[in-house]
């Protein structure tokens, strides 16, 4: 008696959202199964991999990452190299220098970098704010304005600033809106509801539902994504059917396991290897839980995760 396969069919699907334009545009979402459950239904759009660069250049990057960008002197050159990385589907520019508690760069200064990067790459672009809610409310609408017509993903509006960012990105300048909540399903849903109530098309929203490094409370991430995908598919909850993007790199490259030098922790071995594996393993877990796109930094991580996705779909 053969095994009685029972495919799990859902009468619902994740929205498809396209970022960028032209032949390099990427489309996220569209599936109607749990991640990589190709035995239930063929995959629609494979998850995508983005390469993160920051306005701070290569400051603080690991040796392996610096080596990859060797010779790139300007932000434009860095961006171009990022877009050429094996396995890269898009480039994510993280404007971390805008943080008032950090370098506190001015909006004008950052917009100049945004323009330089946008001009240097022909792949889709994601722009991440500095994470300070007040600064982002000022900065991200300007980013959306500067990149009109490029259909970029703006990461991200939060509960505190969705009106300014959502309206600018989603309505005034017709970009894709990233809605960020920190591992809180009710807030993830609420943010989608209020963003659509602003008039933003639900199919122009991508969620960042938060992540953590493997080992750092990752169970909350896994359960948040499991429950969001579950509600989107089995409860056909239209306010949770937005694809999920997860900026992995900024989390994984700031924990001890990835940052401690080999001199400080000799038994742990080379720092680059630890950083790569932390990035790879966290990204793989995010994808298994439901991310439709991940943002990484190290060329080895990008190549490996991109290859893994190809093998799984």
């Amino acid at each position: 008696m053969p095994f009685n396969q029972k495919p799990q069919k859902f009468n619902a699907q994740i929205n498809t959202v396209t970022i960028g334009s032209g032949e390099k545009a990427v489309t996220l979402g569209g599936g109607s199964t749990f991640p990589f459950y190709t035995f239930d239904a063929p995959a629609e759009n494979a998850p995508k991999v983005g390469v993160e660069i920051t306005d701070m250049g290569l400051e603080g990057m690991s040796a392996g990452i610096k080596a990859y960008y060797d010779g790139a002197a300007t932000m434009g050159e860095i961006a171009k190299k990022a877009s050429e990385m094996e396995g890269a589907d898009f480039v994510a520019l993280y404007l971390e220098g805008g943080d008032p508690n950090g370098a506190d760069k001015s909006v004008d200064e950052l917009i100049a970098i945004v323009n330089e990067v946008a001009a240097a790459v022909d792949c889709p672009l994601v722009v991440e704010g500095c994470k300070n809610v007040e600064k982002d409310a000022e900065l991200l609408p300007k980013v959306a304005e500067a990149l009109q017509g490029k259909n970029v993903l703006i990461l991200a509006e939060k509960e505190e600033n969705y009106k300014a960012i959502g309206a600018a990105a989603g309505l005034a300048y017709n970009q894709i809106v990233g809605a960020e909540s920190a591992v809180d399903i009710n807030l993830a849903k609420q943010l989608n509801v209020v963003t659509t109530q602003l008039g933003v098309d639900a199919k122009k929203i991508v969620m960042n539902v938060g992540t953590a490094c493997a080992g750092y409370g990752y169970e909350y991430v896994a359960s948040t994504m499991d429950r969001i995908k579950g509600a989107a598919l089995s409860q056909n909850d239209a306010m949770l059917q937005m694809p999920i993007i997860t900026p992995v790199a900024s989390e994984t490259w700031s924990v001890k396991e990835a940052m401690a030098s080999e001199a400080d922790m000799p038994e742990w071995g080379p720092q680059d290897e630890r950083g790569i594996d932390m990035e790879i393993m966290t990204a793989a877990a995010d994808l298994a839980a439901g991310s439709d796109a991940v943002i990484l930094r190290h060329p080895q991580s990008v190549a490996t995760i991109s290859k893994m996705i190809k093998e799984l779909v």
């Binding site: 009468n11 399903i185 009710n186 807030l187 849903k189 609420q190 989608n192 509801v193 209020v194 109530q197 429950r227 509600a231 089995s234 409860q235 056909n236 909850d237 239209a238 306010m239 949770l240």
Partner: protein, 261 residues
Amino acid sequence: MAKFVTIGERIHCISPVIREAMATRNPEPILKRAKEQLDAGATYLDVNIGPAENDGEDLMKWAVKLLQENFDNVPLALDTANKKAIEAGISVYNRAKGKPIVNSADAGGRIENIDLAAANDAIVIALCSAEGIPSDNDERMMYCQNMLERGMGLGMDPQDLWFDPLFLVVKGMQDKQMQVLEAIKMFSDMGLNSTGGLSNNSNGMPKHIRPIMDSALVAMCMMQGLTSAIVNPCDLRLMETIKSCDVFKDNTLYADSYLEI
């Protein structure tokens, strides 16, 4: 658990406007009522064309196509005593948003509607009565068993028989209300789906009282495990109660704006 399924009852030939529109094949009044109900949060729409002995097949096809083409293949409950009309409706029905519902079979003269549903891979509302009102829950469950066996014998998934305990009017049968609630619990314990004309409870009550009674009853029924009801979705209080109960039952994720979606 899946979200509570509301079946909007307002496309009914008992309404003079709808009857007229059906007779003259005038789309406007029907589309208007459909839109109102969908905007209010109905999942399924019931299409009652009455006995329709003469042109039932043609009328049901027309109504199914009209509604599905205008409202993104909205799922429908086909409601008529004319079996041929139901089959005709199913023949043009698009299942993208859910199987058609045959409304309805009972354990008496209309038991063959189960066969019809089985033959057409449809859901059937199975009224737990043969003639008149069942005297107690033993009788209800006997009917339930008969219909379940018949459906399963024909290869139906038990989940596709939605059992109707037969809601009773409070004014006159107040002492039987708990029985209905207990019957729902029994269906639920069996893992079965259930539905019914819940607002029957408040028949004959003043207009402003009815939403209050209906809301209270739907909350109690959902606690007992009722999975669906045939209701007027334009009753705001009732719909708010259903949405709130869906949150408590973890059928839908809470968000501060949950009533607005």
